[in-house]
């Protein structure tokens, strides 16, 4: 924070030069917090040599229901690179909701393990093998298999939007409500804020389809 920031009794205004002057790690925490609550997901992949990989992502975003599309943002030069390489090689990945019971293990997948190491083994999560071409997380109650469709380069900062089609869904049947909504609270799915904070969530209720009054 610099002297140039303007204060009112309640709030502070930080401008571009204030943000630019922040220490790198401070700015990373600060800016990452601004996007609010984010989903906590583990992305499972497999290398061409069959080594499973698992990495936590907070950037999964809904893209559309018909066709069923999901995206995530991959930063350059991070541990997430193995995920991306495996997706390009095999064409498939799984997305697994993190729940309260294993969020610390999920967080530990963000460590820089070598490519030959299975994060499932390293952090102690169950690798669930099925007919699908990427491994699921056994402990996850809501998970789905995704077919890679395309990537879009975000040139301004070299991040990548990875787009895939949801081709199968594995979840406990009791979690699906009568209108198709999945009860993510009952699954104890959790949220992330910033780089490293985890949150449980409780419902404030569903709202009706809004019309002008």
């Amino acid at each position: 924070m610099t002297n140039s920031s303007k204060k009112t009794p309640d709030s502070i205004l930080l401008q571009t030069h204030d943000i630019d002057n922040m220490e790198k790690r401070y700015r990373s925490h600060f800016i990452n917090s601004l996007s609010g609550f984010k989903s906590a997901n583990l992305i499972g992949t497999q290398s061409k040599d069959g080594v499973p990989n698992l990495a936590i992502f907070s950037s999964v975003v809904h893209l559309g229901a018909d066709p069923a599309l999901v995206g995530f943002i991959n930063r350059p030069h991070t541990v997430e690179r193995q995920t991306l390489e495996n997706i390009y090689t095999t064409g498939y990945y799984t997305i697994n909701h993190v729940n309260e019971s294993f969020f610390k293990k999920a967080h530990q997948t963000s460590a820089r393990y070598k490519a030959r190491i299975s994060e499932f083994e390293a952090v102690g999560l169950s690798e669930q093998k099925t007919h699908f071409k990427a491994p699921y997380v056994g402990e996850s109650l809501i998970k789905y298999g995704v077919k890679f469709i395309e990537k879009q380069d975000i040139n301004i900062n070299k991040t990548i939007l990875v787009i895939g089609q949801i081709v199968e869904v594995l979840c406990h049947e009791g979690l699906i409500e009568s209108d198709g909504k999945i009860d993510v609270n009952a699954a104890n799915s959790i949220a992330i804020s910033g780089l490293d904070q985890y949150h449980f969530c409780r419902s404030l209720g569903r709202q009706p389809y809004a019309k002008p009054s």
Copy 2:
């Protein structure tokens, strides 16, 4: 759900044809739930004639801290079109965290109000005018001003990734922790799941930077 879905005692496997066969609204609820918890944000803009616009989005995604970039997904042919038109015209928008105290009003902005109607007035939220070229939500405790950088068309379903630079941040000073993290719990920011469910969140704790053990 069709007869072809495969069950185990605990879980159900739904495949592409099951998803394809879902009734449209059912599929929308179902697929929207899969991305997990999403941030609840109001995007504020202004038309070239000075009419303020406010719309709720659950697709805001962190893109990078240096430069400070944020994205959101805009669907085609929705009420969000006014937001997009205003951003293209003026080059600026605000992103405002929704908190527990006004989430029902925030949800109501998703109604199809005519372009000449201010959603601030229609739903009863305070339009906070500043030097910035787009209006803020007075009730929001964490909010920021964004300069439009570029859009990326997602051709497979005609959605649009809107990319902007965070040029100013307005928040209560007491919410900023010593390492830059903003306390979104203390601000009572909330999360969305699916199309219409709102959630409050509570911290499970921050986790240390992970290293291979």
